[in-house]
Point group: C2
Chain length 623, copies 2
């Protein structure tokens, strides 16, 4: 499926971008002086600033604007929490091993690569190729038996040695550790930040004065022990996530702010279209929800907001779509799920999952802890309900069953209405009933137990909220933005640059003195101070090299604006030139105008065209 | 030592603060619905915003203003890296166990608590008390043998059971895990972020165009498997650190910006004063460096900058001092070390370590990897140096030693000048030498090897930089700020509040409608929008309860400003009242003035007194 949908940008040269990112230390393999560790990356000053700016924007766009409750929970997570969430039993990938060397491979990746290799082999018959294409289309839904059958049928081997492979075995992707000095308190590093929010649900609900809907959010690291990670930042073992858990009444997923986004157009790729072999389509989110293509308003609202965020930080909207999960992909408890996918040279990459997780997580933690994770809702009007209350004769039950009497009482109190009515009838009919408590039968007679019928008036009802979860992989979004920002100057392909939105650019402004002349130093200092007082990050490049070469060097790391201090700068009042990297055009302005102007340009309050109208044009001969 | 220096605030009630922090969800024990895990804390919306604001301010104060290179490295760290840094062998605490129950205690904490308990026991003789006081004064320098002797001498037992204790055993504080599917690639969670910077030194130096001094910084989590953590946020197992590694020429630790802080006064507690039983003293950092009390300008500059940061985020300068490490406390490689200590109800707490780590870390990683971690410096003038170059006859050596020939050649090329001269002499004298390569001896004769003397001119020299490291524990600073901000209203002790500096306050402004009247809703929305467009976080409290009670509730969580929408608000142009929580005074202003005014107040561009001059005073009868 993915292959057919990945029209690679023909003129994009990933090698060139990778070289730039490594050379200018956006990021690089961790611990490389020790040989490096696959799937771990360190961010250098450029990558770190880009990441911090994206996260800041995320915090503004979601937490501040939507009034979300932010939490910051630990990565260390005790085993029982992840047992309840299902991760201990099910958060695994199928792995095959080279029978001789023990080398490990993720089974589905090995099958995909081997099948693609056979498909490009001229000696393979068209009949087999058809079978391989069918295999690839269904691979995402395969279990271990299906994969073992495929490996046997097509005789797939270890790609490194040609040796045979073991049967697929489940490998849990969580990193194990233990807490405390005794070594017997098992824990894991969290594979997602979401569980930290669920276990804090009661506190958060209370913080929100008991009201639902509300959303909580968390920014933090997740850890997944991938079997053999490749593909750079796309598949890593430690990564920053931003997750939102929006709690909502399962019977009313309408959204007050939906009207604000109703007309927002999106490219949607529904499950129906995928199964029918059709392509993605444009539609407003309002229409998609009206037609029930997207399940509900709340999910639809988030899909639109996610789209706005991604475009704001530099994702090309032409290479962005929302793909609905098909039935076999979705977690069994999920109601609906739409992945924001971004097209890169690796194909369409899932960058934000938007899932309706229903009540699953809260219910699981309730089952494990017996702590009720519910919200209350005022009923539109008080309701009368029928109650069938057991009236046990505890004296007699105590005499008969001794230490089990309390358990019997607890079981009676917890009886659902229907069950109590059934038992009442049976007791009337037979004069006795058999109650099963913790698997053991207890006979209760009419002198031990009676039932009382009554009517009660209730004003509120309890419910377990549903959860709508947008979950962002920041590293993947960042890599996509890097690819989408990568440009080569027309006519000078060697001269590449990064056209980031100024909002997220790692450094906003460069300062380039035209010479080493000491008289320029106080002007450079004044420019720096003026920029810093407006919280604009800047970098002085006073290295040797022509001004044109230095422009190229600052363009390469995506600095959107550049200031040159030249020999005319010294005339009072001091002036400098301001250059717009994208258009390479320049204006001349006074030093004290630099801070407010660049700040306005970065925050989007001023366009470059407006700046050109405001200040005199400066013609440089350097480029 | 610590006890004598901990004059507890007499009227501070920690129980009240703890209750407030838990009730309003600043932070709380992690996974408490599962029974909780000691030493792990989750931050709720209030704690999370306070922490994020403090970190933002840190990033501005240090990274932006000082032009530092920020990096973001992984927590997962392979064993060889932490073996080289010394953590695998030495990052341990001494632990004793209850011989019967196996309960674990940190030995020094157990001794300290037991000794303090005996000191307060009237039945203990004055002679023994004197010995106990001596014990406490020396405890920080004790090794396992000293502690075992103390336990035996005073007959200390398990505080829980009264059982005997084992001898102290070393317990490594790092959390172990493994990377990848085979289980044989050992790793740890990093105990500090510093090592991530050291292993990236080459890339960072290159990014800085080869120039030293420069500083790199990292904000991220550290993990320490504390034996039995108590004391809330002061001692935890997972915590956020901000670390700076400033690389400098070991022979020139002067600092260009030192003049800017020279007259900054500090409270210093030198090693000499501690040993002499004297108290801390006030001195400018300039005088302290001049008198060699603080080792060098760079360290002094950071001490002053750290002080400015701490005061800016809300630490009471009266409860802040810099304490120098005494000889027995300091790591063996450290040159000088000053801890920023903050006085809290737990005593003086180390919150920022400021250490001159010398060249230790870079040299250790060089030894482990053979990757040279050095910088180059232009010599003031070119220097002539004598060289004694080996001229091996590789043909003959190859014939004689076959596969070892290359190793021999490499060993010859790497000879230091002195060694080469020695071998030259020996070769002349005996006609042969024995060269030891990887522990094996190789005989080389005059026909295999000659030496050539020459003079070379060099323009640069290489050196391993020294590292000056300020290392911040954000959780500890945060807890200190919470204690220092905690206030009770005079005459109404039940009414407590948090007087944060507005810069770090979790929420900047509350919005309180005086009634549920629907006509007020559009005014509330307009106020909210105006605040958000100025990036001011706000919280609407439209719950029931008198306006005075709601003020008290927003004061309690440290919201510095409050807006009330009342019945006069509806008159055009819409106006609201703005309240200053600290003084409880109010002014009245138009809705569109709210955003710019609160922003100016938060950023410190406007004082409350100035606001009172600018806008008409409003007298409220609610408080």
């Amino acid at each position: 499926m993915e292959i057919a949908l990945a029209p690679k940008e023909s003129n994009f040269d990933r090698g060139k971008l990778d070289d730039l990112l490594k050379r200018r230390f956006f990021y690089d393999l961790s611990f490389s002086i020790y040989g490096g560790v696959t799937g771990l990356y360190d961010f250098g000053p450029m990558g770190c600033a880009l990441k911090a700016n994206m996260i800041n924007e995320w915090r503004k766009h979601f937490i501040l604007e939507e009034g979300m409750l932010e939490v910051d929970c630990t990565s260390l997570t005790p085993e029982p929490v992840l047992k309840a969430s299902g991760h201990v039993d099910r958060f695994a990938d199928w792995m095959v091993k080279d029978v001789k060397t023990g080398e490990c491979f993720r089974a589905d990746h090995l099958i995909k690569n081997a099948a693609e290799k056979m498909l490009s082999d001229k000696k393979v018959s068209e009949g087999v190729k058809k079978e391989l294409r069918d295999l690839l289309a269904l691979l995402e839904g395969y279990d271990n038996k299906d994969m073992q059958a495929a490996i046997e049928k097509f005789n797939f081997k270890s790609p490194l040695t040609g040796n045979d492979l073991t049967e697929p075995i489940a490998f849990n992707l969580m990193f194990p550790t233990q807490i405390g000095p005794t070594g017997d308190y098992k824990a894991f590093l969290r594979p997602e930040t979401a569980q930290g929010i669920f276990v804090n649900f009661k506190r958060l609900l209370e913080f929100n004065m008991g009201r639902v809907p509300f959303a909580a959010a968390q920014i933090g690291n997740g850890f997944r022990n991938e079997i053999s990670p490749r593909q750079g930042l796309i598949r890593v073992r430690e990564f920053t996530m931003c997750e939102i858990e929006h709690f909502v009444d399962p019977r009313d997923k309408s959204c007050a702010k939906f009207a604000k986004v109703r007309n927002y157009p999106l490219r949607l790729f529904s499950a129906e279209n995928q199964m029918g072999g059709q392509s993605a389509f444009e539609m407003t989110i309002g229409e998609a929800v009206d037609k029930k293509i997207v399940d509900n308003e709340t999910l639809g609202y988030y899909i639109a907001r996610v789209h706005m965020f991604l475009v704001k930080v530099g994702v090309d909207p032409q290479r962005l779509r929302f793909r609905q999960h098909m039935g076999n992909e979705m977690a069994h408890y999920a109601q609906d799920c739409w992945d924001a996918e971004i097209l890169t040279s690796y194909g369409w990459i899932e960058c934000v999952g938007n899932a309706d997780r229903s009540c699953y997580d809260l219910q699981q933690h309730f089952k494990a802890t017996k702590v009720e994770l519910v919200a209350q809702k005022d009923l539109p009007e008080p309701k009368s309900i029928d109650v069938c209350s057991p009236l046990p004769n505890m004296g007699l039950i105590g005499k008969t069953y001794r230490k089990d009497a309390q358990k019997i009482n607890a079981a009676l109190v917890g009886l659902a209405f229907d069950v109590a009515v059934g038992l009442e009838k049976e007791l009337e009919l037979n004069g006795k009933i058999t109650l099963s408590v913790d698997g053991a039968p207890f006979e209760l007679t009419t002198d031990m137990l009676k039932f009382k019928r009554e009517t009660k008036t209730v004003h509120v009802e309890e419910f377990t909220p549903s959860v709508i979860e947008p979950s962002f992989g920041i590293g993947r979004i960042m890599y996509s933005v890097l690819e989408h920002s990568f440009r080569q100057r027309e006519g000078d392909e060697q001269r590449s640059f990064l056209a980031f939105p100024p909002l997220v650019a790692p450094i906003k402004c460069s300062i380039l003195p035209i010479s080493f002349n000491q008289q320029l130093v106080p002007i450079i200092e004044a420019v720096k101070e003026c920029l810093q007082s407006h919280e604009i990050s800047c970098r002085v490049d006073d290295s040797s090299g022509s001004i044109g070469r230095r422009y190229a060097r600052t363009d390469e790391i995506g600095i959107p604006f550049g200031i040159t201090v030249d020999f005319d700068s010294e005339k009072k009042p001091w002036t400098v030139t301001l250059r717009h990297a994208l258009s390479m055009r320049q204006v001349r302005l006074q030093v004290d105008e630099v801070g407010p102007t660049v700040e306005a340009l970065v925050r989007g309050r001023l366009t470059w065209e407006q700046a050109e109208e405001k200040f005199p044009r400066f013609e440089s001969k350097a480029e």
